[in-house]
Symmetry: C3
Subunit: 349 residues, 3 copies
């Protein structure tokens, strides 16, 4: 299946792009170079000199970051990818260009638009304002998963799996909770609510529940195309109103590197109103989730990569998965994405 | 070329399948999980949950080994592969199933039937009663070879190679011995008889020959489809009857992992009537043959993998091998297998 | 694109082929065994026994190097690839043959002819007499590059890159020098002349220039199909005649291992008339160029392999390179090679 192109993908975390860094990253099969210009704005170019295809990222930033010089023959390109300097022969600057892609920094991430540049509207980026660093303590990291990126969306859209692969975060009641799939336009919600749950000690304390108390617990996942997910998890003492409970939120953002490999960008956020502890909580979440010993790395990744291995390159639907009620949200998200791709392909044809 | 499906392949040695073990093994391209049920009977299921394709072998055995629970979302399957438990939603058990394959434990091995389950008849397994542990001391092990499995059958069916690649087991006379290919139904025999041979000291002693004696020696190989071979090697003092000599026997059982990789199952057997030494002799044979320093590992495997490399993915017959008289048995075995596959394909079409 | 076959490729450096050595080397996708016969003449056979495809190079040289014995079943082949010994059955020698390819030792290298044997004429090997060991101190080595071999020819035919990737050998003036592409028959010259250059200290001394002197400098590259290049580099004090300057010469000989990997054979030569220092100079050139820390290894190879990675298996021309004046020679060479291949294919069709 082709990729959806007229959409925003996360290309990097903003913190990966320090001034002066040229980051070569493979996204949707092609290689891109990401860097900050002289105004610290992120920029993305196809990481391939139009002359002889050397990676620009192996060259150097020039003129206070107003462009890149190719490592191989010294052609220079401005931040829009236009050739601006040719040191050879008559030194005439040829009208060559490496494609520049729209990029914006928003919600602690660098977002890249893979379709028609004129159609790029940052307002279309789904709301991840909980990752805006002004009001929130944010921590983030990434890993690479050897699977198609939709297996990752599926994984987050059906959190019944936490009872089975994440004992640390689970209780026996997760899969027996109420489950609801809600579609709002092209946004899909997977909502899970567990009543009178006995949480594992770790979570019981994290949610500030009184000793011995039963809790009502919720796990709400929001999906937007192509694979941008937010997950709110919260708990409150049984019988009290949800507003009086505690809630944390994380972002799970998946960008295909290739058809068979996925960049998994994860961020955790805590309100700065919590004080100095907020950043520590966010940093701890990263370590627990996506660090080398984190649960995504040691528990989800092996299962998902084994799923991918079992598929032997075959298409998900052609393999006729035998679905359950818990798959409603994941299937809905897959259908919306497939329809968007179909429309895009039809329009391009 | 497709695989022959209506036949028994060795999936594992019986000893690999201790109670409680779930063994994921790739056979004929697909992944299977092997385990023992509550009655210690071996079982094989496609190692892929029908729901979302996670390997069942990453889950856990349930209910005194009456089934497997999927690691990902907790669906449970009985030993026949039928879904018996769904912890989600209304908990209704769906009529989902992962295919179960007929398996039997026989001759110290776990045999798996890859075709129509109804056609599976353990009586069709070739006779390897010399591997029955009751009467024989058996030792066994396996290695993986990066080649099509028929290159391995070819190797055993033409033992003239031992003069060239196994100096330890050879004498100058091996290739000059009498060679006979006998076909009995779909069974192929490659029989080699060497008269008045001077055996290497190692073998001379192993066969209990008097010092300085010349020996008559035989190497008889039996092949059955798809690639199940037995090899009897014996020697007797020249002039004496074969019955008064000593004979040892080994099994060479090849199962394709993929088109380009092969599981090589090898076993050695000595009669328990020899007493306590029998098991030691069998164990020594394994070490000498298929251990890290064994001759199969260090002498056959490099040659066969280099053959495969030289073939660059091309078909054996399309490469027009220039055959010799010594290839009669190997060619006969290849023809019988090809005919069986052809018949099977025709019947299925 | 297919390979040009009716041409000479470098298969090895002569020094790689000591008496008694059997060298297995992949060239134009296939595997060959190279060795010296009893007269020390180089020989090349397809490294694949016609019987069962085992590599002859894993066997042994026989009869004072009059042939090779197959490692697997002991068939013997003479230096022309004809079977001369069959130890099996009735011992009748079958009319089997592994193809022998014309090879000659010339200019310190072993050249192999990949086309019609009758058409092989060593006089067609381009003139690399500066590598003849009688009059020259020659040093040579090789590395493997993960790219199509034409990316390597391109690299040498356009030395404007040395200003960008080889600071050690460069000055700011290289790319501003005069550049000329001259075609003589099927030979392409790329000539570069830089006036009044300030050389880096290293080169200034190497060319024996007086302290503080400006220099005229030249870099002349000669290309012959398929990818045999010679590079003369020289310098002389500005205002003096070129004849009074110093010049060094090197050979850059590229042989495809596969479509995506290239054997890079490099040699440096100094006239023996320089005395004992000549060999030292040649050896130093190898270390500086193609040794583990050499500039080809650490500066060219990474760029060229990244170019290849960026091409993602696509064809050079289909990717529409946006060329510059400096590419004239490389394009000319590519066209001549393409035309030769086209003619050869047409003749064969």
């Amino acid at each position: 299946m082709p990729y959806l192109r007229n959409t925003w993908y996360v290309a990097a975390w903003a913190k990966e792009l320090a001034a002066g860094v040229m980051l070569r990253r493979r996204l949707l099969d092609e290689f891109y170079v990401l860097f900050r210009d002289s105004l610290d704005q992120p920029r993305a170019l196809v990481d391939r000199c139009p002359h002889r295809f050397a990676p620009l990222s192996m060259g150097k930033l020039i003129g206070d970051r107003t462009g890149i010089q190719c490592p191989y023959h010294g052609l220079r390109f401005d931040v829009e990818g236009r050739c601006i300097h040719n040191p050879h022969g008559n030194r005439k600057v040829p009208p060559y260009r490496t494609p520049a892609l729209p990029v914006v920094e928003k919600f602690s991430a660098i977002w890249i638009w893979m379709g028609e540049p004129d159609a790029a509207d940052p307002a279309q980026i789904p709301d991840f304002s909980f990752l805006s660093p002004d009001e929130h303590a944010v921590a983030c990291d990434m890993i690479n998963i050897a699977s198609h990126f939709e297996l990752e969306s599926d994984n987050i859209l059906d959190l019944s799996h936490i009872e089975y692969i994440h004992p640390l975060f689970s209780s026996d009641a997760v899969s027996s909770g109420d489950y609801e799939c809600v579609t709002e336009g092209d946004t899909v919600w997977s909502k899970r609510h567990i009543r009178n749950d006995t949480l594992p000690t770790f979570l019981h304390e994290a949610f500030g529940l009184p000793a011995g108390a039963k809790a009502n617990r919720w796990l709400n996942v929001r999906w937007d195309a192509p694979a941008c997910l937010a997950l709110w998890t919260g708990a409150v003492e049984s019988g009290k109103s949800r507003d009086s409970g505690r809630e944390t939120v994380g972002a799970h953002l998946f960008t295909p590197e290739t058809a068979n490999t996925t960049h998994y960008f994860f961020a955790a956020s805590y309100p700065r109103s919590l004080g100095r502890i907020a950043q520590q909580l966010a940093d701890d979440s990263i370590a627990v989730a996506i660090g080398p010993e984190g649960v995504f790395t040691t528990e989800d990744k092996p299962i998902i990569e084994a799923q991918a291995e079992n598929m032997l390159g075959r298409d998900f639907w052609e393999m006729k998965p035998r679905l359950l009620s818990i798959d409603t949200a994941a299937v809905q998200a897959r259908r919306i994405l497939a329809k968007k791709i179909e429309r895009e392909q039809a329009a391009g044809g």
